[in-house]
């Protein structure tokens, strides 16, 4: 297991909405086969009581193509 630490940045947009951005290490992008960028699925699943697991998975090719069309 390889672990990286990054800062989750929080900003409030001029419309008053919260905006969160996370820098992704190049090693993680490479492991996800997204060196040239692309769409990822962010899955939040409950693990224990009031505990969640957040997983990043590359979106399947068929889905990402249909997303591009949209």
């Amino acid at each position: 297991m390889v672990r990286f630490v990054r800062t989750l940045q929080h900003r409030v947009t001029p419309h008053g909405r919260d905006f969160y951005a996370l820098s992704i290490p190049p090693q993680v992008a490479e492991a996800l086969n997204l060196k040239a960028g692309g769409s990822v699925d962010i899955i939040v699943s409950p693990v224990k009581k009031s505990m969640f697991e957040v997983t990043l998975k590359p979106t399947p090719v068929e889905l990402s193509q249909s997303l591009k069309e949209v």
Binding site: M1, V2, R3, F4, V5, R6, T7, L8, Q9, H10, D18, F19, Y20, A21, L22, S23, I24, P25, P26, Q27, V28, A29, A31, L32, N33, L34, K35, A36, G37, G38, S39, V40, D41, I42, I43, V44, S45, P46, F52, E53, V54, T55, L56, K57, T59, L63, L67
Partner: protein, 153 residues
């Protein structure tokens, strides 16, 4: 279970490619980092076997940094100068590196050869000072190692 789809955007810099991912608010809430001004997130690469496609696929797991194992190293305990009964070495938290070149962060005990040498030098200084103190206590009028060498001429 919640599922969101976002795009990892790439910015090409002379120092290397920078990747940024927009995080939806419910995800920040799940990480419990929505109220503060952001916070530290640990990103772990985990290889999982896909039973449908019969292949190993990498995925990244996001966790709040405070919920994961915090790296630490052994440091010389300066309190030992005042109270010799305390431990000579104590655990010290190693701060995560979020700036500069992208490097993995350790889990648990960190072995840093330069820091270990520095701490060992401090411990040696302490032992030498204790030895000196003990010698002064045991031989208050001076200590001579063996007879004085005779002059040959």
């Amino acid at each position: 279970m919640l599922r969101f789809t976002r795009t990892i955007s790439v910015k090409h810099h002379p120092s290397g490619d920078h990747y940024v991912l927009s995080i939806p608010r419910p995800v920040a809430e799940a990480l419990n980092l929505h109220e503060e001004e952001g916070g530290l997130v640990s990103i772990e690469i985990v290889n999982k076997f896909d039973t449908h496609k019969k292949e190993v696929r990498a995925q990244a797991v996001l966790k709040a940094y405070r919920d994961g194992p915090i790296p630490w190293r052994e440091a010389f305990n300066l309190a030992v100068w005042k109270d010799p009964s305390v431990d000579t070495f104590r655990p010290v938290v190693v701060p995560p590196n979020t700036l500069g070149p992208s490097r993995p962060t350790a889990c648990g005990k960190v072995v840093d050869i330069h820091a270990s040498l520095r701490e060992s030098r401090l411990a040696l200084q302490y032992l030498q000072a204790m030895r000196k103190l003990l010698k002064r206590k045991m031989f208050p009028h001076g200590y001579k190692r063996g007879p004085k060498p005779k002059r040959r001429w």
